[in-house]
Amino acid sequence: MPGKGITGEVDRIAEKGLLQLHPFIPDRLRVVNDGNRLEVGQLLAKVACANCHALQRRTPLRHIPDKFHGATDEDLIAAFLQGPLKHGTQPYMPRIDLPEAEVRAIAHFLAVTNSGQDVERLIVQQRSATRVASQKE
């Protein structure tokens, strides 16, 4: 219901994405690529999900691995993000509509988390590899 001149931002985020609109995204993470997908996915999950959900396994506060029943299939996770969540049909959840690249990044991060791998270590390794590659160029 509109009031006091407030305009909705969900559609604008759907069009441009959180990576472009969110003020506190480091520049090197504003575009998703193979070298930062996991890190971007983690950051987006923190921005979009962590207000209500814990992101780690075996933690309190509606943790996401439990909500996905430990699913490690990225397509399955992405299907939820682009289905009920995108259209706002999930009870008790806000409508969160994100561009394809951002959905895939979040799905990748959640799949890796659910697989039980050490996400933090993987991100550090990827960051180092990206830095080495850019130095060689």
């Binding site: 009031g3 001149g5 003020p23 480091p26 993470l29």
Partner: protein
């Protein structure tokens, strides 16, 4: 992204319900009362500990320690209650800065609550045990309480100061481009500012002691020698305390950013002059001076300090294009009327009744009988509470009916 645009975007999209300057003025005014009780509490706590360790020298020190322990105990509750108003006004007009700063140091913001709880419990344990012939080891509770109170002051200082430095937020949030969401650090501390504000606790309790001696002049159980002892001690603490406070104040004045115009700003200079004037006045305080006058002087000094904090905030945020004057206003006059009517009615009459009652009862030894005027004030307070509760419900029900059925 330009941080000035970011701050303006982070404002409450619903705007504010009255002109922002109104909230700014209320913020400055209410902070004076809050910080007055912060100073009184910290000063009384420090003096209670000092007196506790000197209680073997004279019964006056023991009596003073017990009295100051109670003052600090009550002071904590009052500083918390009186801290709500300036905090809320800050959140209304400086919401982007306050919330960003709190998120950047999230663990400390949460730790503030828990350390304050532990500090208050520890102080209460000291209060419970600090009686005639108390054992030495109970002083540990007081030290723990006071140190945690000082830590809480440091946390509040850092949260306030970080809010003035939006240009550094991104560097704190994502150092080297790597996001750190732990909120584990206090990123910016301006030690001279913190030490100056904390240092005012000593002269504050000194001024309080002068008023304390005056207040108990009519009580025979507070013997004249004890009152003379407290007044003399208060005068020494006030005069020396203000002199000592000058050092961090001058350090603070010198640490303002170059080109900000703050180093020689008239309000800053006025604050320095006010501290010097208070020091001089306390140094030469005459016996016949009314015991409550220094309290008024102290509150005046704190008003200048409160204004100075706001001048500094405006000077820090203006280069980024943040100006409260252009905050979107959606005037809500009924709410404003309700607020001021509550402030005057409930705050003035009910608060006034309690203050009058406590003030007069404390000056009487033995049984206190309220005068006709105080009794009428009490009846008025009960009546206004009834009116307030009725208006509260009628207003809410009217809006509910209008929105749901009309």
């Amino acid at each position: 992204m330009d941080i000035g645009t970011v701050m303006n975007t982070m404002r409450d999209p619903a705007g504010v319900p009255a002109h922002p300057v109104l909230f700014q003025a209320l913020m400055v005014l209410t902070w004076v009362l809050h910080i007055a009780f912060v100073h009184l509490t910290l000063g009384a706590a420090g003096l209670a500990i000092f007196s506790f360790h000197r209680r073997g020298r004279s019964p006056y020190w023991e009596c003073l320690s017990m009295a100051m322990t109670k003052v600090a105990k009550v002071g904590v509750s009052l500083l918390i209650v009186l801290g709500v108003a300036p905090l809320l006004f800050t959140q209304v007009i400086y919401d982007p800065q306050w919330y960003a700063s709190n998120v950047l140091s999230g663990r400390w913001a949460i730790a503030f609550i828990f350390t304050l709880i532990v500090a208050y419990c520890s102080w209460f344990a000291f209060y419970y045990a600090n009686h005639e012939g108390a054992k030495r080891h109970i002083g540990v509770f007081a030290w723990v309480g006071l140190l945690l109170f000082c830590l809480d002051g440091l946390i509040m200082h850092a949260l306030s100061y970080q809010a003035l430095l939006p240009g550094q937020w991104m560097g704190w949030y994502a150092p080297g481009g790597v996001v750190d969401t732990r909120g584990a650090a206090l990123h910016a501390i301006q030690w001279p500012r913190y030490l100056f504000i904390m240092s005012l606790s000593a002269p504050a309790v000194g001024i309080f002691l002068i008023a304390y001696a005056h207040y108990f002049a009519g009580r025979e159980d507070r013997e004249p020698a004890y009152r003379a002892f407290t007044r003399s001690l208060g005068q020494r603490m006030a005069s020396r305390g203000f002199v000592l406070a000058l050092l961090p104040l001058l350090g603070w004045q010198m640490s303002h950013p170059a080109g900000s115009g703050l180093v020689a700003h008239p309000v800053g200079v006025l604050l320095v002059l006010a501290v010097i004037a208070m020091a001089g006045w306390m140094w030469r305080l005459r016996e016949g001076t009314h015991g409550y006058l220094p309290v008024l002087g102290g509150l005046g000094l704190l008003a200048v300090l409160s204004l100075w904090r706001e001048v500094i905030r405006v000077a820090h945020l203006k280069p980024f294009g943040y100006d409260i004057a252009n905050y979107v206003v959606h005037a809500d006059w009924p709410s404003a009327l309700l607020f001021f009517a509550t402030l005057a009615g409930v705050g003035g009459l009910v608060g006034g009744y309690y203050l009058t009652l406590i003030y007069r009862a404390g000056r009487v030894q033995g049984l206190y009988t309220a005068s006709r005027g105080v009794a009428r004030l009490g009846s008025g307070a009960v009546a206004i509470l009834g009116v307030w509760i009725a208006v509260f419900f009628i207003y809410g029900i009217a809006i509910w009916v209008r929105n749901s059925f009309l």
